[in-house]
């Protein structure tokens, strides 16, 4: 991979839901590059296509048109199983609602992406998950189940889970949207620190200007179109 090659490159990305009269165009030809180590905020009103763009970048959804490359791999041409493996290895997710598995402890939730890919849990996974929880300030909550954690703590566990497989890209969809100001600040500060220390690229969807102010790049989306130039 050349120095100039971005981590993610999409060109002419479109997404249309439904068919015929019921068809709704959500993304209208997005051109976007994301570089390694970026910390970007994706802003836009509700319905502007932020979540759809994130799910396409995360290989959870196939676009209707355009190209999508990450690490120089053509993710549109890839089969479902390949996309699943790629997602597991290179992409992490943080959602507005923590979506932790209620039957697993905090440390088991953090391990889940690695264990699910390997088909088993290992000591090395547990050790890394514990380190991540320590970094999130949750060393005393490792064996707690999600129901016993506060909203902020759950979201920090979710951030740790997104980092478990050491992904190059973390996609965060309104990660603080369900938190109070203090918890939201804790989470975004953590993300900034991880981005600085590990060089992981973060794309954070938000409509909170305060959160966007923590990011070094701002990408505005309006009615399925990018308002800000792609790079």
């Amino acid at each position: 991979m050349s120095e100039e090659e971005p981590l993610v490159r999409v060109r002419g990305l479109t997404k249309i839901f439904g068919e015929g009269d019921a068809a709704a165009t959500v993304l209208r030809g997005i051109d976007l590059d994301l570089a390694r180590g970026e910390l970007s905020a994706l802003l836009g009103p509700s319905g502007s296509g932020k979540s759809t763009l994130l799910t396409i970048l995360g290989t959870l959804l196939r676009p209707s048109g355009g190209t999508h490359h990450m690490l120089e791999q053509d993710l549109i041409a890839a089969r479902d199983a390949e996309r699943t493996r790629f997602r597991s290895t290179h992409i992490g997710f943080v959602f507005q609602f923590h979506h932790l598995l209620p039957d697993l402890t905090a440390v088991e939730n953090v391990m889940m992406p690695a264990a699910a890919a390997a088909g088993r849990e290992t000591r090395a996974m547990r050790s890394r998950a514990a380190e991540l929880l320590d970094a999130m300030g949750l060393s005393d909550r490792r064996e707690y189940r999600p129901a016993a954690l506060s909203g902020g703590q759950r979201q920090r566990v979710a951030v740790a889970r997104a980092l478990m497989n050491e992904p190059q890209l973390v996609l965060a969809d309104e990660p603080t949207g369900n938190l109070d100001r203090q918890s939201a600040d804790q989470v975004i500060t953590l993300i900034e620190e991880i981005n600085r220390t590990t060089g992981t690229c973060f794309l954070i969807s938000t409509h909170d200007e305060h959160i966007a102010a923590h990011c070094r790049r701002r990408i505005d989306l309006s009615d399925g179109n990018l308002v800000t130039p792609s790079a």
Binding site: S51, Q96, A117, G119, N165
Partner: protein
């Protein structure tokens, strides 16, 4: 698969009440399966014992010969009349007896000399059917030795055993002398050595047992015998064994089912009824587990979605729910087998069943079969349901 097992167990333990109810449902289905197997099997055993327990399962006799033809034309046929005074006998019987003893499934073989005779004691006379047996094979076919109510079951050279009804009709007691006149016109005195009560009216009224050699003299059969009676286990195997023996000996071989076809059909129908009931019990288990798994999948839709989003393969998701359903099925089946075993304990063995009691045969309970079939059925039901889990769209399930 270890991770799938861990998640499956966590799912089951997160809702212990629901899991226990599901397992109870499976356990009840399995216990019905086992109870019906034990009951239908026991009933068949009881009916067979009561009906064919004291008769030969296979009878080997000389094949009837067609009369010799002297002239055969379009309008006339001249044949030699069958000599009715000549007794049908198996002259070379030892090889047939040895073949019968060696046949798989055969439990007893009794060469016999049979004939009609009259018993006379003073002025009293009664017709009897004489059965000459080797003394050590007195009880090989009917349990004569076990039903002796007076005297001894030992067959002495000059002794006979008679049924209780015959003894009552003629006023006979053990130790008394009787005269026996055969249909060959030979007559001899015998001492009554024992009186039996088999519980079969025809035998208790008309059967008279004597030693092989005494019968030879009485019926003019210096070498041959009348028939070979054979017992097999299970009794239902008699037709197949009879076919084999017929081919091997070239004699006329008749299984008990030929003369008791209606009973055999009834037992067969009863067995089929039991199978249908067991199949329905299994179907109920499959439906129960499938619906429970579908509910579980619907309830855990977002969890499945998040796992898929985090890189879990469809195989892992399938594995989790298949293991979940299979665990419910297996543990429920084991619990059901235990429940059935405990519930069958108070029932006496089939041999000891009195009037009105249920003939339960625990040995025919099909415990292992019930567990294995239920486990397979649970796995099948889980696979059918879990396929839906693998089709869940992570984006829709997460609801972002």
């Amino acid at each position: 698969m270890r991770y799938a097992a861990k998640i499956a167990i966590r799912h089951l333990m997160s809702t212990p009440g629901q899991t226990a109810l599901l397992m109870l449902g499976v356990a009840l289905g399995v216990s019905v399966f086992i109870f019906m197997s034990a009951l239908i099997g026991g009933l068949a055993t009881l009916l067979t014992q009561r009906t064919v327990g004291s008769i030969a399962h296979i009878t080997i006799e000389m094949a009837p010969r067609d009369p010799a033809q002297l002239v055969r034309g379009d309008d006339v046929q001249l044949v030699v009349q069958k000599d009715l005074s000549r007794r049908e006998q198996i002259t070379v019987w030892e090889p047939a007896a040895r073949l019968s003893e060696a046949a798989p499934g055969v439990t007893a073989v009794s060469p016999q000399i049979r004939g009609s005779a009259f018993v006379q004691r003073g002025q009293a006379i009664a017709p009897v059917g004489v059965i000459g047996v080797q003394p050590d094979k007195l009880s090989a076919i009917a349990n004569i030795g076990g039903t002796v109510v007076a005297g001894s079951s030992a067959l002495m050279p000059d002794g006979v055993l008679i049924g209780q009804t015959l003894a009552d009709d003629l006023g006979l007691r053990v130790g008394q002398i009787i005269r026996v006149r055969s249909d060959r016109g030979r007559e001899r005195s015998f001492r009554i050595g024992g009186i039996f009560a088999l519980g079969i009216a025809s035998a208790d009224r008309q059967a008279l047992y004597m030693s092989f050699n005494a019968a030879r003299a009485l019926f003019d059969l210096p070498n041959g015998i009348s028939r070979i009676e054979v017992k097999v286990a299970p009794a239902g195997a008699a037709p197949g064994i009879a076919d084999d023996l017929a081919r091997a000996t070239g004699l006329k071989v008749t299984p008990w089912t030929k003369d008791n076809a209606q009973l055999f059909e009834a037992l067969d129908a009863q067995g089929r009824t039991g199978t249908i009931i067991k199949v329905f019990a299994l179907i109920t288990i499959v439906i129960g587990i499938a619906s429970a798994m579908l509910l579980s999948i619907m309830r855990r839709r977002s969890e499945i979605g998040i796992m898929r989003a985090m890189g879990a393969s469809r195989t892992l998701v399938l594995g989790i729910f298949v293991l979940e359903g299979t665990l419910i099925g297996t543990l429920g089946a084991v619990a059901g087998a235990l429940l059935a075993w405990l519930s069958l304990l108070p029932f006496p063995p089939v041999d000891a069943v009195k009037g009105g009691g249920l003939p339960i045969d625990r040995a025919q309970g099909d415990f292992l079969l019930a567990i294995v079939l239920t486990t397979f059925a649970a796995a099948l039901a889980s696979i059918l349901s879990a396929r839906r889990a693998t089709r869940i769209d992570p984006v829709e399930a997460i609801g972002q």
